[in-house]
């Protein structure tokens, strides 16, 4: 059960022990983490589950797919190097301790 840390814009942290197989987005919704809206329920169609990862974590995350890349151009908060859609991040053991920052603007 990897631990995922969600960091709010004001620095508040929520650490969740998450089952492998779910996604960073679904785990956040299930725990009621603020700022992850996820209108489309994980179809990479709405751009409202945007998070910032540390670029140094990119090795242990799946590559950004075409649909995700397209949606990352539609986010409310500015796209950065580590920008990801949390619905496209399935949890794996390799993600133990991953920190994701929730953007100030999601919608």
């Amino acid at each position: 059960m990897p631990k995922i840390v969600y960091v709010q814009p004001d620095g508040t942290e929520t650490a969740l022990d998450v089952d492998a197989g779910t996604t960073v987005m679904r785990a956040a919704l299930a725990a009621g983490v603020q700022g992850i809206v996820a209108e489309c329920g994980g179809n990479a169609m709405c751009a409202t589950c945007h998070v910032y990862t540390d670029p140094s974590d990119s090795d242990r995350l799946p590559a950004v797919g075409d649909d995700e890349d397209e949606m990352l151009d539609c986010t409310a908060g500015a796209r950065e190097d580590g920008s990801r859609l949390s619905c496209q991040l399935p949890i794996t053991e390799a993600m133990e301790g991953l920190a994701v920052r929730v953007p100030r603007e999601q919608v």
Binding site: C40, G41, N43, M45, A76, E105
Partner: protein, 394 residues
């Protein structure tokens, strides 16, 4: 007290909802957020939080409604399926409707359509912008996106209305059935012609995407889903166009700021569909007994999900009845949510927010309500303006 509230839900009449549903929704939100409303033959869900919960639990709240009039009119479309079956049909259509395609391929086409329509009436200095602009614009844009560009806009409008009337034909009026069936046959003929053309010559349209998907849809699935897109893809952009225009015409201070900074038309669009959600209510059905908003719903309960009410929920939106483009944190539910999140979201944002509204205000200087006749509102399942008589300087 409970008795009094129960009595309120029982007294609701459909014609009252049609005229102005918002005061009724406010009473329901305050007192009975999940209420059995006999006139609608459904439980109406009116609070934002309950609807947001429902949209995250499609396993409890199914789109596959039994005895669906939509299925009778259109056949089995993606909108009345759940799970993998729904996803397969949706994914096939999606490439034509993703944001990059909308921006690169459809937005320039939408701009040409808007300009041609305005060219046709601009010198006259007045028009009903519902019949002369918003409705034909929505029909022509939809035709282009679907792959039916050679179908006259008037045919699409007629088919759309006839099928919509059929899906709401709870009175079982045989004339309404006849018109709906005739519209469905018209769509089928047009789709079959498009399939023949696009099979050999693929393009960027929805029908072509469905035909050439990795897991292609059958001709019957394409026909039925295109009926859905015509029945459900025309009135929403039309109504967002007229309501958004009306809102700016009646809020001069906000209009001045938007005209000074046209990038804000994006906010106008989002606030318009929050303020008056074009799809006011959609159906769901419970798969098991469940409790929501203090009400126990039996398995198989028919529900009406009142997006129009969620978007005016005072626990989420300050002064919810006020049109205000400065709202931050857009959590309106006008596009629904979950697996059935509106597939036309990006198309609608482009068509209305990036093209129709800015083009009207840019090309019709001094645009104002004509005052010759009052604007009229109507509807609750679908709601919008019924006319928009306007004048401008020539």
């Amino acid at each position: 007290m409970a008795q009094v509230i129960d009595d309120f839900a029982r007294t609701i009449q459909l014609d009252e909802l049609w005229s102005d549903p918002y005061p009724i929704y406010r009473t329901l939100r305050e007192n009975q957020p999940v209420a059995w409303v006999p006139a609608a033959n459904r439980y109406l869900l009116t609070r934002h939080s309950d609807i947001a919960y429902l949209e995250k639990h499609p396993e409890i709240f199914s789109a596959a409604e039994t005895h669906s009039l939509m299925i009778r009119v259109m056949g089995l479309t993606m909108l009345r399926q759940d799970g993998a079956d729904h996803l397969r049909e949706r994914k096939a259509a999606e490439p034509a409707l993703r944001p990059r395609m909308v921006k690169q391929r459809w937005t320039p086409a939408f701009q040409r359509i808007a300009d041609e329509l305005i060219d046709g009436f601009r010198d006259r200095g007045e028009a009903d912008l519902f019949t002369e602009f918003a409705a034909p614009m929505a029909a022509k844009c939809l035709a282009a996106v679907l792959g039916l560009a050679d179908v006259p806009a008037q045919d699409l409008q007629t088919w759309s209305q006839a099928m919509m009337d059929g899906t709401g034909n709870y009175a079982d009026d045989p004339v309404v059935w006849q018109r709906a069936e005739s519209a469905a046959r018209g769509v089928e003929r047009a789709v079959d012609a498009a399939i023949e053309r696009l099979s050999a010559h693929p393009d960027d349209s929805v029908i072509s995407a469905m035909l050439h998907a990795e897991d292609p849809l059958t001709p019957r699935q394409i026909r039925d889903n295109i009926k859905l897109f015509i029945g459900g893809g025309l009135n929403e952009p039309r109504d967002a166009t007229t309501v958004g225009t009306y809102a700016l015409l009646t809020h001069p201070e906000q209009r001045a700021r938007v005209e000074a900074d046209p990038s804000r038309f994006k906010d106008v669009f989002e606030e318009t569909v929050r303020w008056v959600a074009p799809i006011g209510m959609y159906p769901r059905q419970t798969t098991m007994e469940t409790e929501l908003g203090g009400t126990v719903l039996p398995a198989g309960a028919k529900l009406g999900i009142v997006l129009a009410s969620a978007n005016r929920d005072e626990s989420v939106f300050d002064n919810p009845d006020t049109f205000d483009i400065d709202r931050t944190g857009r959590v309106h539910l006008a596009f629904g949510g979950g697996p059935h999140f509106c597939l036309g979201t990006w198309t609608a944002r482009a068509q209305v927010g990036a093209v129709a509204l800015p083009t009207l205000f840019r090309r019709l200087p001094g645009l104002r309500l004509s005052g010759a006749e009052p604007v009229r509102w109507g509807g609750w399942v679908f709601r919008g303006l019924l006319n928009l008589p306007a004048r401008w300087d020539v």
